[in-house]
Every structure is written in structure tokens, then in C-alpha cells.
């Protein structure tokens, strides 16, 4: 049976009944967006900002593949050289908002292409307190 999921940080990633959502900042004065939420706009320098759930669909803007295990700490996923599996990393451009850096569920360079449509999902990093600790990722979609 699948374990219940625990967000890596609930002020960054909300696990809702309708799926995962990233929490970002929108500037009410200049409509600039930043992820994660911060209390100041890095475009207009103002502070009239709000917390919003960012869009969940976008297009791949840049990508690479993480080919070696990151150092743990800080990495919370599988870091042993024997068991490590490469994962994609990219920026996904969310229309009218921003570009979010995230893991990608696809790690085959042959299957990754700038401009391809992507959708927000989660990936499991490890188990914690009998729950699956998850972080956000984007997966290719139709």
C-alpha cells in the first residue's frame, strides 16, 4: 500500500486533493512572480506582494541531467553511488508567471526538448516517519 505523502516543506509545496501546488509570490504592483514566496519584489523593489498558488502547466525552457549523486547532506534522496539513478533538471516556463527550476521525471536526453509541455507532479525522496517525503517535479504531458 502506498504511504501517505509528506511535503518537503509545506510553505513551498502544498499537497492538495487536486494535486501538488507550488506557493509563490506575486507583486500586486507590477505582476512579477517569484518562487518561493518572498516578502519583496525583485523587479520593482516594492513590498506590495501576495502569496499565490502558481500554475501547474508550462513548457520546458532549459534542461540537463544530474548524472552523479549529490552530496548528502543536504540531498535527501538516494545518494549511494551504487543505487543512484540520474534525474532530469530543468526550468519550466509557466505562462504569464515565471520559470521554475525543478526536477524532471524524464532523464533520457533523447526524450527531452526545449519547448515540450510539462505538468507539475511529485517524486519521492525518502521515507520519513512512515510517510513518503516528496518534492516537486515536472513530467512531460500531452
Amino acid at each position: 500500500m502506498a504511504l501517505t505523502q509528506l511535503s518537503i516543506k509545506d510553505t513551498i509545496l502544498e499537497l492538495t486533493d487536486d494535486g501538488p501546488r507550488l506557493i509563490g509570490m506575486r507583486c500586486k504592483d507590477c505582476d512579477n512572480h517569484v518562487f518561493p514566496y518572498q516578502e519583496g519584489c525583485n523587479r520593482c523593489t516594492g513590498t506590495n506582494v501576495e502569496k499565490i498558488r502558481l500554475g501547474t502547466k508550462g513548457k520546458l525552457w532549459a534542461w540537463t541531467v544530474q548524472g552523479f549523486p549529490p552530496k548528502a547532506p543536504p540531498y535527501l534522496g538516494e545518494a549511494s553511488p551504487e543505487k543512484f539513478q540520474p534525474y532530469g533538471v530543468g526550468y519550466v516556463e509557466i505562462d504569464g508567471q515565471l520559470k521554475v527550476e525543478a526536477r524532471l521525471t524524464e532523464s533520457d536526453p533523447e526524450k527531452l526538448q526545449v519547448g515540450m509541455p510539462m505538468e507539475l507532479t511529485t517524486v519521492v525522496l525518502c521515507e520519513e516517519d512512515d510517510r513518503d517525503l516528496v518534492t516537486y517535479a515536472f513530467e512531460p504531458c500531452a
Binding site: 518537503i8 516543506k9 543536504p74 530543468g90 515565471l98 520559470k99
Partner: protein
């Protein structure tokens, strides 16, 4: 206006030196620089120094000698060395002092930089498997290659050149030449970049002694003038390392801004530069930085590398000492190593790696975390 001259240079070999602290590598470089300038540590009126991972610079006075000089620690990410140099340059310009030193050193653990992004609570960014500087470089060059038609072969050419040049540099770390095939077929670390296309965090130390130009001949027959020293942070819309999100807007990164400002201060253009050291954290960075610093148009690098234009005997020699790729990147020392190499090239005493035809103008460029750039222009 007061001109500033570099009158003494010192280096501790880069790489791995077991049993010698980063700070002691810095002190070693200081003593070498003093010897080069023919001065005693007690003659130095002020110092700026820093490291990222090897502790405070100013405590080295307990070994060098407690002379009471003004010593200020500098910490400015990948531009730590450049910031120390800029601070020393500005201090002499201000008229406060006439003779000072800029010091950079470091000693990092093995492997990719371990970036800590949370001071409290869970480190979600690094925990997720992001927060690796290598990922940024992979993404930036991957996009750039498809946009401007750069091949993976060209990436390999940059690395092969670095190791070839380093074979001629007794202070470099990786001095064994590698073929383009060996580079292309080494482990894929961050697509499209392989193991030998990346530099490694390492160790080393560099010190540079600066003086008012009108007093430079007291210390050296070959003063090298520092005509511009500029450090800039990023503007809104640029594509930077360690960024959980980017704006939809686009602006050129800090390298472009820093380079323009430096050329403006020096009153020359890219066409006047005879030898350049450009940040080559990985081979793609050198390629992109050639264009970002104004030395070519985007995409021309493919042809330039094929023709060997950035080789020691080429039209614009780049990273003649092997760059970061062959020297490793002890962050605090890295930017000053570039200046150290340019001083040798402009003095004409770079030995077997000397750029021919008496180069007159040299250029150094650093880029790094957290979206910062430093450029220096030097002449003789």
C-alpha cells in the same frame, strides 16, 4: 588621476596539498609576492584578503608578522579575489595608502560544491536534489548550443586546450594532456558536460602587491598597470546559478555589464586585448564568456576553436595557464590566479607558454555564485 601598478606577484601551486592549510598557502603566496617586489612584509601598508572555505585571511598576520597594518577580510562569493583586488585598487586611488596587497586562498573538500541553502529548518532546495552549481552550467550551455550551433566537439576542444596549456605551467593541477575523444567519453556529469569538461574545487593561494604607478619603479622594472577593476551583481531577468526561479523577462547577465564597464574605464575595446583569462568553470562557460565579454559574436566560437584562435599562438589566446579546468577552483584564489598569469604574460616571462609578439593588454574575467562577475584589464 592616480594609476595603479602591480609590482609583485606570488602563488602557491594549485591542486591538492595535503597537510598545508588554505591559509598557509595564502601566506606562502604573500611571501613570494614580497620577494618578487623586493619588499618586506613590514613595508606593506594595508591588505585585503579572503577565502570561501578556508577561514579568515587576517589571522595570517600571526605568522607573517604583527605589524599593525590595516587588514580587511573580503567575502564575496566567486568574486572574492576580484573584490580584494578592487578594494586594494580603490584604496590606493583614494590616496589613503601607497602600497598594499590583495590575497586570495582556499581549500575545498573533494567533489562538487556542497551548497547549504537553509540556515534554519529543512534545506528543501538542496534536499530536493537541486542547488548544484553544475546543473546551472549544464542547462545554460545546453540551451546555448542549440541556440547558436555549438557542438560537443567544441566543448572538448576547450578542455583539451586547457590541459595542453597546463602541461607548460608548473603551478597547475592537472597537467596531463587529454585527447578530445577521452574528454568526450569520460563520465557524463551534467548533460552535455562530461567529467573532463568540468573544473574541480581545489586548493591554492595567490597574492598581488599594488603600488601607485609613479612609485612602481622602486619595486620592479616591469610594472603592470591595472587600468580597470570592476565587480557587479546581477540585474533583474538574468539567468543565474542557484536560482529556484527565473523571471520571464530576459536581460544579459552580470558578465556583460561588468565587461562593458571595464572597457569603458580602460578606454579600450575587446579588439585591443592580446591575451585573456575567462571563467571556465566548465568548457561551455569559456565559450559563452568569449561572447559575453565582447570578444566574438554568439556562435562564432565554433569556428574560432576549430581554427585554434584561442590557442597560445592564436589570434586571442584564452586561459594560457590552463584556466580553472586545469588549475581547479579554490574560489578565493581563482580570480587572482588569472591576474597572476596575465602579469607574467605582459612581463614577457611566461616561459614556454609565453604568448608571442609582446602582448601589451591583458584581460581577466570571473563569473560565479550568486550571479556575480569581476573583470580586470591590465597593460604594460
Amino acid at each position: 588621476m592616480t594609476r595603479i601598478a602591480i609590482v609583485g606577484i606570488g602563488i602557491h601551486p594549485f591542486g591538492r596539498t595535503e597537510g598545508v592549510s588554505g591559509q598557509d598557502q595564502g601566506s606562502y603566496a604573500v611571501r613570494a609576492a614580497c620577494k618578487d617586489a623586493g619588499v618586506e612584509w613590514g613595508d606593506i601598508e594595508f591588505a585585503y584578503g579572503g577565502s570561501m572555505a578556508a577561514g579568515a585571511a587576517d589571522t595570517m598576520v600571526s605568522k607573517l608578522g604583527l605589524t599593525g597594518l590595516q587588514f580587511i577580510n573580503v567575502a564575496n562569493g566567486c568574486a572574492t579575489g576580484g573584490s580584494a583586488l578592487l578594494s586594494a585598487y580603490s584604496t590606493i586611488k583614494s590616496g589613503a595608502y601607497d602600497l598594499g596587497i590583495a590575497i586570495g586562498f582556499d581549500k575545498h573538500e573533494r567533489g562538487a560544491f556542497r551548497v547549504k541553502t537553509a540556515s534554519t529548518g529543512r534545506d528543501w532546495y538542496g534536499g530536493t536534489g537541486l542547488a548544484l552549481t553544475t546543473q546551472f552550467f549544464g542547462m545554460k550551455i545546453n540551451r546555448y548550443m542549440s541556440e547558436y550551433g555549438i557542438s560537443q566537439r567544441t566543448l572538448a576542444r576547450v578542455s583539451a586546450k586547457a590541459f595542453r596549456n597546463a602541461e607548460l605551467n608548473e603551478n597547475a593541477w592537472r597537467r596531463k594532456p587529454l585527447s578530445e575523444e577521452e574528454i568526450l567519453h569520460s563520465a557524463m556529469l551534467s548533460y552535455p558536460l562530461t567529467q573532463y569538461m568540468f573544473c574541480s574545487p581545489g586548493e591554492g593561494g595567490v597574492a598581488l602587491i599594488l603600488a601607485r604607478a609613479d612609485q612602481a619603479h622602486k619595486y620592479t622594472d616591469k610594472p603592470i598597470f591595472l587600468d580597470a577593476a570592476v565587480v557587479k551583481s546581477r540585474r533583474f531577468g538574468s539567468f543565474e546559478v542557484l536560482a529556484p526561479s527565473l523571471a520571464l523577462d530576459w536581460s544579459a547577465g552580470p558578465t556583460v555589464d561588468t565587461s562593458k564597464k571595464a572597457f569603458e574605464l580602460a578606454g579600450i575595446g575587446p579588439e585591443d586585448v592580446d591575451v585573456a583569462q575567462l571563467q571556465d568553470t566548465e568548457s561551455g562557460a569559456e565559450i559563452m564568456h568569449m561572447a559575453e565579454n565582447g570578444f566574438c559574436e554568439h556562435g562564432e566560437q565554433e569556428f574560432m576553436l576549430e581554427k585554434g584562435e584561442t590557442e597560445i599562438g592564436g589570434r586571442l589566446p584564452v586561459n594560457t595557464d590552463g584556466g580553472c579546468l586545469a588549475n581547479g577552483e579554490p574560489v578565493g584564489a581563482s580570480g587572482l590566479r588569472q591576474v597572476y598569469e596575465i602579469v607574467h604574460q605582459l612581463r614577457g616571462d611566461a616561459g614556454t607558454r609565453q604568448v608571442p609578439n609582446n602582448p601589451k593588454v591583458g584581460y581577466t574575467h570571473v563569473y560565479g555564485s550568486p550571479g556575480i562577475s569581476g573583470v580586470n584589464i591590465l597593460s604594460r
